[in-house]
C-alpha cells in the first residue's frame, strides 16, 4: 500500500535535508579520513584505540601473572618484569582508562545534549592524534626493550638519571605528558560544550545527569593534570639538564615528586569513576523502567566528591614520615569521601527499587559493578585509616584494592555501556549467545584474581616484586590468582569477539531499542555526521523525552536549524543556566591541520627524547606557528548580524557575541594554566620548608630593578592589549597599540632571559636556583605566547576577520596578556621574596 501523500512528502523533505546536511558534515573518503574533526568519528577512534591499548596492557598483565604464579619463577628476568609491570599500569591508566572515558564522552555528550558537535572540533582531533602518538611512543619503547621500568608512578629518586640512566624514564615522562596534553584539550572542549552547546530550552535542571557527570569530570581533569605535567617537566629537566628539583643532595626533595604525582593520581581515580557513574545513572533508570531517583542529591554529591578527592592526595603517602596530625586531615578526608559515593550508590539502588528492573546483558555488568565497587570502596575506607594503612602499605592488599576500584569500576560499566550503546553505534543489537558466558567468565575470573590478592597481601606479600620465596600460604593464593587472571582474559576475549560479531551478525533494529528517554536515541542509527537534522526544543527534563515522537519531527527539520546555509556546519549556543538560544555557532570543517600540528608536537617530543634539544625548540616554534595558522581561517570576514535559525528566531553568529565558545575555552584553559603555576609555587614553598640542604651555601640574589622593569613591561603590554581592543571597538586604527604591546612583551622577555642567566645560586647547583629559574621561565613562556597572539591579531586584522562587532580575537589576546601580567607579577614577587624566606630558615630550632 502506498503511504498517504502527507507522509510521503514528509519523508521526501527529510531525505532532502539529510542529503544536504550529509554533504556538509561528512568526512571524506580515503586519505581525507585523516582530516576528520567530527565527534562521532573521533569518539569511535578514541574508543577503538583505547581498546587496543587495553588488549596490550591486558597481555602484559597476564605476563606478570605467569611470572608470579609460582615462587622463584624464571619466566622473566627482573629487568623485563620491571618494564612489563610498569607498562601494564601505565597503559591501563593513561592509555586505556582515561582515553576510553574521553572517547565515550566525545561520542555521546553532544548527542545527549542535543547538539550537532563539540565546540572545538579541531581540538578534539588534535587531542586524538596527541593521544595516538604519545601512546605509540610508549608502546614502541616496549618493543625496543627500553620501556619505562620504574613503576607507573615513576617515583624519584629511582627515576632520576643516577638510578635510571637510559631513556626508559624519559619515554614515560614525555609519552605520558603528550597524552596529558590530549586530556587537557578535551577537558576544555567538554566543559565549554556542556555549558554552551545544549539543545535550546535545556536548562541546567533539565540536563541529563550524564551531562553533569561529564562537566564535573572535565573540571577535575583541568585541575588534576597540571600538577603531573609540571612534575614530568621538572623531572625531565632534572634528567636532561641537571636541575636538582628532586635531588636531596642539592636542595631538592624526592617526596616533592610524590606530592605532585598524587595531586594528580588521587583525583584521577574519581576522574575515571565519575563518567562511568554517569553511564550507570543513564542506564539504570532505563532498565528499571523509571526515572533516576535523587537527581539533585547526585549533583551535590558529585560536586562534593570532586573537591574532596583533591584534598586527600596524601592518603597515598601515609608512610613517608609526615607528622601524625597532618595525616589525620587526609585520613578523615579519605573516609568522608565515601559519603558522596554512597549517595550515588543508594540513588541507583532506590531507582531499581522504585521501578521494575528487567534483566539484560548490560544489567549483568551493572550487577558486576555493584559487587566490585562495594568491595573496592570498603577496602578503600580500610586503607584510609592510618594504622591499618601502615600495616597494609606496599603489600598486595593495596594492589587488590586499586584493581577493584579502577579495574572493576571501569571494566564492568564499560562493557555495560558497550552493549547498551552498541545499537546506536552500529544499528544492530547483540545476539547474546556469547555475551552471557563472557560476563560470567569475566566476573568469576576478576573475583578470583583480585580478591585473593587481599589475602596474600594480608599475609605479608609485598607488591612490586618479580619473585617471592616458596611460602606455602602465598604460593597457592598466587597460583589461583593467576588462574583467575586467565579466566578473566578468556572472558574479555569472548566479550570482544562477541561485540565484533554483532557488527556482522547482530540483528538490525529501529531507533531506541531499549525504550530509553534521552536525546541520543532521537536520531537515525547509526548516527549521521550531523547527528540531528534539526535541533530539539526541550520542555522537560532531558532524560524523560518521548524519543519515538520527537525523532521523526527532528528528521523533518521541524526543530531549529532544519535547513542548510552557505555550506556552514551550524549548531546553536545557549545561555549557560537557562539553555535559552543565544548564538549561531558555525563550526570549522574537516582539515589536516590537527594532524600536522600533532605530528609537529610529536617531533618536538621525540627530539627531546633523543636529546636533540635545539631541534626540539625549533619544532616547538613550528607547532606554535601552526596554532597561529589554525586561527587564520576561523570565523567570518564580514558582519552578518542576526540570522534566522528556524522557528521564527534569529540569532547573531558566535563571532559577534561576547560569550562565544572560544572566550570560555580560553577562561578554562587559563584555569588549567593557573593550576600549573599554583603547583609550581607549592613546589617552591615545599622545598623551602621541607627539603634537606637548605639554605644553600651561596646567598640568593635577584636583580631588583630588572625584575621590576619586567613587571612594568608586562603592565605596559596589558595596557597595549586593552588599547587595541578599545580602538577597534571605537572603529579606530589599533596597530599602534598592538606595536606597543609587542615591544613591551619583547622587552619583558629580554629582561627575563637576563634574569634567568644570572640566577644565583646557579640552577644546576641548588634547587633554590632551579625553582627561581622555573618561575621566571614560566613568565617568559607566557610573554612569548602573548607575542604570538599579537601576531595573530595583525594577520586577522589584515584578513578582515576583526571589526567593531567581531572582537573575539582581540578579547582573547587581552585576556591572555592580563593573565600573563597578573601571574607574572605574582611569580616575580615570589622570586623576590625567596631571599627573605631563605633567611627565615635560620630561625629554625
Amino acid at each position: 500500500m502506498n503511504p498517504p501523500i502527507e507522509e510521503s512528502r514528509n519523508r521526501s523533505s527529510a531525505l532532502t535535508l539529510h542529503r544536504q546536511l550529509e554533504k556538509i558534515w561528512a568526512t571524506g573518503p580515503g586519505w581525507q579520513r585523516l582530516a576528520a574533526v567530527n565527534h562521532s568519528v573521533l569518539g569511535v577512534r578514541f574508543m577503538a584505540t583505547a581498546l587496543l591499548f587495553f588488549a596490550i596492557a591486558g597481555v602484559l598483565g597476564m605476563l606478570t601473572r605467569v611470572q608470579l604464579a609460582t615462587p622463584k619463577a624464571t619466566f622473566m628476568d627482573t629487568e623485563t618484569y620491571n618494564q612489563v609491570f610498569t607498562m601494564h599500569g601505565s597503559m591501563m591508566l593513561f592509555l586505556f582508562a582515561i582515553p576510553m572515558l574521553e572517547g565515550i564522552a566525545v561520542y555521546l555528550t553532544p548527542k545527549m545534549l542535543g547538539a550537532r558537535d563539540f565546540a572545538f572540533p579541531r581540538l578534539t582531533a588534535y587531542g586524538y592524534w596527541c593521544y595516538l602518538f604519545g601512546g605509540t611512543i610508549l608502546a614502541a619503547s616496549l618493543v625496543a626493550g627500553v620501556a619505562p621500568d620504574g613503576g607507573w608512578f615513576m617515583y624519584t629518586p629511582l627515576s632520576s638519571n643516577v638510578y635510571t640512566p637510559g631513556i626508559n624514564a624519559d619515554v614515560w615522562l614525555l609519552g605520558v605528558t603528550f597524552v596529558e596534553i590530549s586530556a587537557l584539550s578535551l577537558a576544555v572542549e567538554m566543559i565549554v560544550s556542556v555549558l554552551k552547546m545544549r539543545a535550546p530550552g535545556m536548562s541546567l535542571d533539565r540536563m541529563p545527569i550524564f551531562g553533569w557527570y561529564i562537566l564535573v569530570t572535565a573540571l577535575m581533569m583541568l585541575v588534576a593534570f597540571p600538577p603531573l605535567i609540571l612534575g614530568s617537566i621538572l623531572l625531565e629537566t632534572e634528567r636532561a639538564f641537571g636541575l636538582p628539583f628532586f635531588d636531596p643532595t642539592r636542595g631538592g626533595d624526592a617526596l616533592l615528586w610524590q606530592h605532585l604525582f598524587w595531586l594528580f593520581g588521587h583525583p584521577d581515580v574519581y576522574i575515571i569513576l565519575l563518567p562511568m557513574a554517569g553511564v550507570l545513572s543513564t542506564m539504570i533508570p532505563v532498565f528499571a523502567g523509571t526515572t533516576l531517583v535523587g537527581y539533585r542529591a547526585i549533583v551535590v554529591a558529585i560536586i562534593g566528591l570532586a573537591f574532596v578527592s583533591f584534598g586527600i592526595w596524601v592518603h597515598h603517602m601515609f608512610t613517608v614520615g609526615i607528622p601524625h596530625l597532618a595525616l589525620s586531615f587526609f585520613s578523615a578526608g579519605s573516609a568522608i569521601v565515601a559519603v558522596p559515593t554512597a549517595v550515588q550508590l543508594f540513588a541507583w539502588l532506590a531507582t531499581l527499587a522504585h521501578g521494575r528492573p528487567r534483566w539484560s546483558v548490560p544489567m549483568l555488568y551493572i550487577f558486576g559493578f555493584f559487587v566490585t565497587f562495594v568491595i573496592g570502596g570498603l577496602t578503600g575506607v580500610m586503607l584510609a585509616i592510618v594504622p591499618f594503612d601502615w600495616q597494609a602499605h606496599n603489600t598486595y592488599f593495596v594492589v587488590a584494592h586499586f584493581h577493584y576500584v579502577t579495574g572493576g569500576v571501569v571494566a564492568f560499566p564499560l562493557f555495560a555501556a558497550l552493549y547498551y550503546w552498541l545499537p546506536l553505534l552500529t544499528g544492530r543489537t547483540a545476539v547474546y549467545r556469547l555475551s552471557i558466558p563472557a560476563f560470567w567468565l569475566i566476573f568469576i575470573g576478576f573475583s578470583l584474581t583480585f580478591f585473593l590478592m587481599h589475602l596474600v597481601g594480608l599475609l605479608g606479600m609485598p607488591r612490586r616484586v618479580n619473585t617471592y620465596p616458596p611460602i606455602e600460604s602465598w604460593t597457592w593464593l598466587n597460583l589461583l590468582s593467576s588462574v583467575g587472571g586467565f579466566i578473566m582474559t578468556i572472558g574479555f576475549a569472548l566479550a570482544v569477539i562477541d561485540l565484533i560479531a554483532q557488527l556482522r551478525f547482530g540483528r538490525r533494529v529501529r531507533r531506541d531499542p531499549w525504550k530509553a528517554a534521552t536525546l541520543e536515541w532521537a536520531m537515525p542509527i547509526p548516527p549521521p555526521p550531523y547527528a540531528f537534522a534539526s535541533l530539539a526544543n526541550i520542555y522537560t527534563r532531558a532524560d524523560r523525552i518521548a524519543v519515538r515522537e520527537l525523532a521523526p519531527s527532528l528528521a523533518r527539520g521541524e526543530g531549529y536549524l532544519g535547513f542548510t546555509r552557505n555550506g556552514w556546519q551550524e549548531t546553536l549556543g545557549v545561555q549557560m543556566t537557562s539553555g535559552a538560544p543565544e548564538q549561531l555557532i558555525v563550526l570549522p570543517r574537516a582539515t589536516y591541520l590537527p594532524l600536522i600540528t600533532a605530528l609537529s608536537t610529536a617531533a618536538a617530543v621525540l627530539a627531546i627524547l633523543f636529546k636533540f634539544y635545539w631541534l626540539s625548540l625549533v619544532m616547538a616554534l613550528v607547532t606554535a606557528g601552526l596554532f597561529v595558522l589554525w586561527g587564520q581561517n576561523a570565523g567570518h570576514a564580514r558582519d552578518y548580524g542576526p540570522l534566522p535559525v528556524g522557528r521564527g528566531l534569529s540569532l547573531p553568529p558566535h563571532t559577534e557575541v561576547p560569550s562565544a565558545p572560544p572566550w570560555w575555552g580560553m577562561i578554562f584553559a587559563l584555569v588549567a594554566d593557573g593550576a600549573l603555576l599554583t603547583s609550581l609555587a607549592f613546589g617552591v614553598l615545599y622545598l623551602w620548608i621541607s627539603a634537606p640542604n637548605w639554605p644553600p651555601a651561596v646567598r640568593s640574589e635577584t636583580n631588583l630593578s630588572l625584575a621590576l622593569a619586567t613587571v612594568a613591561g608586562l603592565f605596559i603590554a596589558a595596557a597595549g592589549a586593552h588599547g587595541s581592543l578599545r580602538s577597534v571597538a571605537g572603529n579606530r586604527e589599533p596597530r599602534v597599540w598592538i606595536g606597543v604591546a609587542a615591544v613591551a612583551l619583547f622587552a619583558a622577555i629580554a629582561a627575563l632571559v637576563v634574569l634567568i642567566a644570572n640566577v644565583i645560586p646557579h640552577p644546576r647547583e641548588h634547587a633554590l636556583g632551579a625553582t627561581t629559574a622555573a618561575l621566571l621561565a614560566y613568565v617568559a613562556l607566557h610573554a612569548g605566547i602573548g607575542l604570538l597572539f599579537l601576531l595573530s591579531n595583525v594577520m586577522r586584522l589584515a584578513g578582515g576577520f576583526v571589526s567593531p562587532r567581531r572582537l573575539i580575537d582581540l578579547r582573547l589576546t587581552q585576556l591572555w596578556i592580563d593573565y600573563t601580567t597578573v601571574t607574572g607579577a605574582l611569580a616575580i614577587g615570589l622570586v623576590l621574596a625567596l631571599p627573605a624566606l631563605v633567611g627565615m630558615l635560620g630561625m629554625r630550632p
Binding site: 555549558l195 535550546p200 530550552g201 536548562s203 541546567l204 535542571d205 539533585r296 542529591a297 549533583v299 551535590v300 560536586i303 562534593g304 570532586a306 573537591f307 574532596v308 583533591f310 584534598g311 607528622p323 601524625h324 596530625l325 597532618a326 589525620s328 586531615f329 578523615a332 578526608g333 568522608i336 558522596p340 530539539a536 526544543n537 526541550i538 520542555y539 522537560t540 524523560r544 523525552i545 518521548a546 515522537e549 520527537l550 519531527s553 521541524e558 526543530g559 545561555q575 549557560m576 543556566t577 537557562s578 539553555g579 535559552a580 538560544p581 522557528r647 560569550s659 614553598l685 620548608i689 621541607s690 627565615m840 630561625m843 629554625r844 630550632p845
Partner: protein, 128 residues
C-alpha cells in the same frame, strides 16, 4: 511530557523562561563552599608544617590552627544562613530553585567536611 513543536504556548513559555535565565556567574556559587574548605585545608596544612618546622609553641600552633579552622567555618555558616534566608528568585523559574537547592546543600556539605576533616587539629598532638 513529550516536546510538541506545534505548541505555541510552550514556545512562548520557553522564551519567557529563557529571558530571565540565572546569570552564569551563579555557577561559581556551586563550588564556593568546597573552595572555602579547600583553602582551609591548604592553610591548615601550611600552618602546621611551618609551625612544626619553626618550633612554634604548642599553644601558639594550636591557636593558629584553631583560627584557620573556625574562620572558614564561620564563613561557610554565614553564607549558608544568608542564602537559606533568601528564597530563590521566582523570575528564574525552576532553574533558579534548582541552583538554590544545590548551592545550599553544597554549603552544608562543605561545613560538615571542614568539621570532620580538620577537627582533629583540636585534639591530637601537634608535632610528632
Amino acid at each position: 511530557m513529550a516536546p510538541d513543536h506545534s505548541e505555541a504556548d510552550s514556545e512562548r513559555e520557553m522564551r519567557n523562561r529563557s529571558a530571565v535565565g540565572a546569570p552564569a556567574g551563579q555557577l561559581w556559587l556551586l563550588a564556593l563552599g568546597f573552595c572555602v574548605w579547600g583553602a582551609a585545608l591548604v592553610i591548615v596544612y601550611v600552618l602546621h608544617s611551618a609551625g612544626c618546622a619553626f618550633g612554634w609553641s604548642t599553644d601558639a600552633l594550636r591557636l593558629s590552627l584553631g583560627l584557620a579552622i573556625l574562620i572558614p567555618l564561620a564563613l561557610i555558616g554565614w553564607l549558608w544562613r544568608n542564602y537559606a534566608k533568601t528564597a530563590p528568585d521566582p523570575a528564574l523559574g525552576p532553574t533558579g530553585s534548582f541552583l538554590h537547592w544545590v548551592i545550599l546543600w553544597t554549603l552544608a556539605a562543605a561545613f560538615v567536611t571542614v568539621v570532620f576533616t580538620l577537627g582533629p587539629a583540636f585534639l591530637l598532638t601537634t608535632c610528632i
